[in-house]
């Protein structure tokens, strides 16, 4: 996972993680628990304090294939 410097919006940051699903991960999507298909693009967003980024990255790493996720700065 690589990371660009996110935009600082005070104590919290709006972050989006974008990557490619590795397949088989079950996730709540569109009102139900679904299995993500391998290959599909996934973006998950969160608000986190800068000093609490690591748990988010860990969480997202379970969702996407290692190395494909990019942490993008948003508005």
């Amino acid at each position: 996972m690589s990371a660009k410097k996110p935009t600082d919006r005070g104590p919290e940051l709006l972050l989006t993680f974008t990557g490619e699903a590795s397949g088989g991960t079950r996730y709540t999507w569109d009102g139900g628990e679904r299995t993500l298909e391998r290959g599909m693009g996934v973006t998950v967003a969160t608000r986190r304090r800068r000093d609490r980024l690591e748990p988010t990255e860990t969480h997202f790493a379970a969702l996407v294939r290692a190395g494909d996720a990019v942490l993008e700065a948003q508005e």
Partner: protein, 324 residues
């Protein structure tokens, strides 16, 4: 005069647009029906404005507010009796609650002109959904082209009728991707595949967005960023439900300068009406014609900007306040 907007059911679509935004603009209270102290706040208002009151609590609230002498406005952005055409139908309790609230209302407001027919038995006014311009910027179309889908979960049926055409589009145009796909859409667009490699190849054409802990504003920001710059947005409803349901999906895309293709018979400026069987030509025709995209994008944005004023809300509040 105190005005309170109420989200009439916990899973009400469009509550952000029909409750939170107008309440902010008018300096009014806004509560969710199941929120802490929601009932007390709502009953303290002179004007109670309840959006989609399809819960027992909402019906009780409307009746009690009327009994106390307050003005009751019920706001509908869909035909609840036809919901089964696009999604799981409202059960009898939700329909009964809605009808109780409608009977308690002094005035019914509707999100679309086309809703006047199903609500013909009520004194009704059309108050179209408002979209503020701030934060909605038109982005140069992305290269390669992107198709987007932003449906609020009310388009869970009907996709089957156009799925083959959408698959044909992405087969013809291997660079094109579709953003903000819903599970119901994704399922229909991959159900013909059993081989895992083939399925993975097609899955790469779709991108979905998980709404996390952002709240309404944060999710909106994420999706607005995701949708901007798309070549075309899709809207697909089966049957008559889609002819009268709120045009919010078209409105959001339009404010981003994104043309839409819709199964609605009455497409607004910047959108193209296309029925199943016409989607392949409609989508590819637009993708192949950047000039037409630009024209439609300008028309769409102009139409959306015409919907940026909350004056219609103020007019209704003024009208009902004379009855107090």
């Amino acid at each position: 005069m105190r005005v309170c907007f109420v989200v009439g059911h916990e899973d009400t679509p469009e509550a952000y647009w029909r409750v939170l935004l107008p309440s902010r603009s008018l300096g009014a209270h806004a509560v969710a029906i199941d929120g802490t102290a929601a009932r007390a706040t709502a009953l303290a208002a002179d004007v109670l404005w309840i959006h989609q009151p399809t819960s027992i609590a909402a019906a009780d609230l409307a009746e009690k507010a009327r009994a106390r002498g307050g003005a009751v406005v019920v706001d509908m952005s869909e035909d609840p009796w036809r919901r089964t055409e696009c999604d799981q139908s409202y059960n009898a309790v939700r329909i009964e609650s809605c009808e109780r609230a409608l009977d308690a209302a002094h005035l019914v407001v509707l999100a679309m002109d086309q809703l006047e027919e199903p609500f013909a038995a009520y004194d009704a006014r059309v108050v179209k959904t408002v979209i503020p311009t701030a934060g909605w910027e038109v982005r140069t179309p992305l290269v390669p082209a992107t198709i987007s889908w932003w449906s609020d979960g009310r388009q869970r049926r009907g996709l089957e009728g156009v799925a083959d055409e959408i698959i044909a589009v992405i087969d013809r145009k291997p660079e094109v991707k579709i953003r903000h796909i819903q599970y119901a859409h994704f399922k229909a667009l991959t159900s013909d595949l059993t081989d895992s490699e083939t399925k993975a190849d097609r899955s790469k054409r779709f991108h979905f967005y998980l709404e996390g802990d952002l709240g309404a504003e944060g999710n909106l920001s994420m999706l607005r960023t995701a949708m901007a710059g798309s070549a075309v947005a899709l809207e697909c409803y089966p049957g008559g439900y889609g002819q009268s349901v709120s045009d919010l999906p078209l409105l959001r895309s339009a404010m981003l300068g994104v043309p839409s293709i819709t199964t609605r018979l009455d497409a607004p400026p910047g959108a193209i009406s296309a029925q199943p069987g016409e989607w392949l030509d409609a989508i590819t025709g637009l993708l192949d014609d950047p000039g037409r995209q630009q024209v439609l994008a300008r028309e769409a944005r102009g139409w959306a900007e015409s919907r940026a004023s909350f004056d219609s809300y103020r007019n209704i509040i003024e009208e009902v306040s004379t009855w107090l």
